[in-house]
């Protein structure tokens, strides 16, 4: 009972608090919060919104998993953003240059993406392990550098081709596409969605059923205890960040293989930071991250309906920001409350066993 309360209470509290905050912001502006909520919910049934939510949710899910792998070890991979963009770009270039049988072609593109993501994460990993540079700073710098490298790669000097007034990479042949499930007018669910779910299962299995997962969590909980238990801290840092980078390398692929088939200057960005938010919301738990990703995708996609009733769409950004901030605060409050409750319980049990009143004060 308490376990469920501990897990579910904070996100619910956070969402309610964020909703209240947004309601106040809307009321100040003279809009009706209820109308805003109604159009957002009804929007899900319209057009391609439901499918978009699932597709975007899957992308956010993979991004959240990438961040969560680092979080398990108290490593903060803020570089997911750069890793996924560069990986998508290089994978698109490789996919466009190759012509292989179907299936194999797709697999090669996915492997290239994972490899590039891991490569880009290896710089912060090595700097952290061997030079003690904090991974946050180095991976932020890598994000910037990734932007430069991408601009160079898809420029016409690199691998780009001019199409209309947009530069893009060579389109990937149909053999490399990841087939989706079409719902006619409601859109097409990316086939990658199922791969994302499989990745979530693999993540859960790795964490709870393998020695590596145990070492990962142990290093996160207490590096000294893990070291005493024979875990090589340096190796763990490198492996964890590389894994996180490889996962990040897959974030851009659902759209690349399912819809765009090429990487352009206008390809989406910002998923890395969403991944951080989603991982925090889901407490690094595979199911929690999935719920967080879907919530995020719902907020993003339903926001489009707000324009129709004259509410600024940006209210959703405030909602998302305040959810993240209030969810971490809520977890902290609930953790402290549970700790105090447990202390009281133990004290009561001790009193019952020994029959003497526990000492007051110390």
């Amino acid at each position: 009972m308490t376990r469920i309360r501990t897990v579910l209470l904070p996100p619910v509290l956070a969402i309610v608090f964020a909703a209240l905050l947004c309601a106040v912001a809307l009321l100040i502006n003279g809009d009706s919060p209820l109308t805003a909520l109604r159009v957002m919910v009804t929007q899900v049934g319209e057009g391609t919104t439901a499918v978009d939510i699932i597709n975007t949710g899957a992308i956010y899910y993979v991004a959240g998993l990438a961040v969560a792998i680092g979080f398990q070890m108290k490593l903060f991979n803020i570089g997911v953003e750069g890793q996924f963009r560069l990986a998508a770009c290089v994978a698109a270039i490789a996919g466009g240059a190759l012509s292989l049988p179907p299936g194999l072609h797709t697999l090669v593109i996915i492997l290239v993406g994972a490899a590039v993501g891991a490569l880009w994460a290896s710089v912060p990993a090595l700097l952290k392990a061997y030079r003690g540079v904090h991974e946050v700073i180095s991976s932020i710098m890598m994000n910037f550098i990734a932007t430069g490298v991408i601009a160079y790669l898809i420029s016409t000097e690199g691998f780009g081709v001019l199409r209309g007034n947009n530069i893009s990479t060579d389109p990937i042949e149909p053999t490399g596409h990841f087939p989706g499930i079409s719902f006619g007018a409601s859109g097409t669910i990316f086939g990658f969605v199922f791969l994302a779910a499989a990745l979530g299962l693999a993540y859960g299995f790795m964490l709870n059923r393998t020695r590596f997962g145990f070492e990962l969590k142990a290093s996160g909980e207490s590096p000294t205890a893990a070291a005493a238990g024979g875990v090589d801290a340096r190796r763990m840092v490198i492996v964890a960040l590389l894994l996180s980078g490889a996962m990040a390398g897959l974030v851009g692929l659902p759209e690349l293989l399912g819809r765009d088939h090429a990487y352009t200057l206008t390809s989406p960005a910002g998923y890395g930071f969403t991944g951080i938010a989603v991982a925090l919301l889901g407490r690094n738990h595979p199911v929690g991250i999935a719920l967080g990703a879907l919530l995020w995708a719902f907020l993003d996609k339903s926001a489009l309906a707000l324009d129709n009733v004259g509410v600024p769409r940006e209210i959703v950004l405030i909602m998302q920001g305040s959810i993240v901030l209030s969810v971490v605060i809520a977890y902290e409050i609930v953790r402290r409350y549970e700790l105090a409750a447990e202390q009281r319980r133990v004290a009561a049990q001790l009193r019952a066993v020994t029959g003497v009143p526990a000492e007051v004060g110390s």
Partner: protein
């Protein structure tokens, strides 16, 4: 932001060599070496833009927001709170400055930026100090929130004025001024094309011309921060909260109050950085995404300044300078900077070898050789890379110097009232 894993190593005896140079002398030597290297590079590669006063002037403008962000980072981290939300507070500052500046002029813009940034600081303090949330998590959340609030407010307030949700109407900026007759005299000397002398004159000339009151304020805040944090009772207490809050509390220091104040001041500085962007003579007004990660760069500048005011000024100057070079002269000049970097690395290697830090010396030498090889192999740095030269420089500097940095001992750790009783 701890750049270094604190290792429980034996404390290094400070009195290794009895004649330690005072800080100003060391800074002067570093500056002299820097000017010397640039002069040699300019002469050998013919890239006169490297030391022109125009480049320095651009560098000062680019340095200012980073300097403010770095000062913000310094104040927070000295009190033991990592502030990665600087970026978000800066974004809030850009909006606040544009809004206040549009209605009441440039000084109001400065105040507006300060207040909005400080509000972000208040949020960060509530999350980290009162609730003990992980500092980095809170900072990232505040950056997200700052972006959201800013875009919402821009949509509400600026759209009726500028018809554009991503931009504010143009605001009034500060008048620029130069320090005369020094600026004219230096410009004359720069024109004479004497090796070293003209280079130094060009570099200095850019610093004393085309100034705004905000630039002067920014440069003044560096010694002021030093004086307050290292030479006043308030600052010593504040720093003790960052080194050992339990000990500070046992001496009657109210740790929470000091941390709150430090983080709010930190947010205020970040907001000033946002105001500096909004009041930049080249682009007066708020523009969505104009911070471009400068809050993070300020943090990095502070780290490689070893959590000290003078050092962070050097870090911010390096960034502003590299940025100024690439903006004014592009890939060729950045290419010449590679040459300068390799000279610097060799000098560092010699310096560390003399101090018998063999490993550091080897790393520096290897880095220098790699950079020189890159310089030799490619004829020109592509434009796309050149614009990210500052970030590359940061990575290199951190990789070479990170072992010798010392962050505040308790930075990033949660402190709760009554700990250690």
């Amino acid at each position: 932001m701890t750049a270094v894993e604190t290792k429980p190593a034996a404390p290094v005896p400070q009195a290794r060599n009895g004649r330690r140079l005072p800080g100003w002398a060391r800074a002067a030597i570093v500056v002299a070496i820097g000017v010397g290297i640039l002069a040699i590079t300019t002469t050998l590669t013919g890239q006169y833009q490297l030391t022109s006063s125009g480049t320095t002037q651009a560098a000062v403008r680019l340095l200012l927001p980073i300097l403010f962000a770095a000062l913000g980072g310094l104040w927070a981290e000295r009190s033991g709170v990592i502030n990665i939300g600087l970026e978000g507070m800066m974004i809030l500052g850009t909006w606040g400055a544009a809004w206040a500046g549009f209605y009441w002029g440039p000084w109001a813009a400065v105040i507006g930026g300060l207040v909005f940034g400080a509000l972000g600081g208040v949020l960060h303090a509530i999350a980290t100090v009162t609730f003990g949330v992980n500092h980095i998590v809170s900072g990232v959340a505040i950056t997200l929130l700052g972006m959201g609030i800013t875009q919402y407010l821009a949509q509400l307030i600026f759209v009726p004025l500028s018809r554009n949700p991503r931009q504010s109407p143009r605001i009034e900026g500060f008048e620029t001024f130069s320090i005369q007759p020094l600026a004219d005299w230096l410009a004359e000397l720069e024109g004479q094309q004497r090796v070293l002398l003209s280079d130094a004159a060009g570099l200095l000339g850019g610093v004393v011309s085309g100034l705004t009151p905000l630039v002067v304020l920014g440069f003044l805040f560096v010694p002021v921060s030093y004086y307050v944090l290292w030479r006043s009772r308030f600052g010593l207490r504040l720093r003790s909260c960052g080194e050992n809050p339990v000990a500070a509390a046992s001496l009657g220091v109210n740790v929470f109050t000091y941390k709150y104040l430090a983080v709010i001041i930190s947010g205020g500085f970040a907001g000033l950085g946002g105001a500096a962007l909004t009041l930049n003579p080249g682009q007066l007004g708020y523009l969505e995404g104009q911070t471009g990660g400068r809050g993070y760069i300020g943090l990095a500048a502070m780290i490689f300044g070893n959590w000290r005011p003078g050092g962070l000024l050097a870090g911010a100057a390096l960034f502003g300078y590299v940025d100024g070079v690439q903006l004014r002269a592009g890939g060729e000049a950045v290419h010449a900077l590679l040459y300068a970097t390799s000279i610097l690395a060799v000098i560092l290697a010699i310096f560390w070898a003399a101090r018998r830090h063999w490993r550091s010396a080897a790393v520096a030498l290897a880095a220098g050789l790699v950079v020189y090889a890159v310089y030799w192999v490619i004829p020109e740095v592509p434009r796309e890379f050149a614009s990210y030269a500052p970030q590359l420089v940061t990575l290199l500097v951190l990789a070479v110097a990170s072992q010798r940095l010392r962050p505040p001992a308790a930075v990033g750790l949660e402190y709760r009232r009554g700990e250690g009783d």
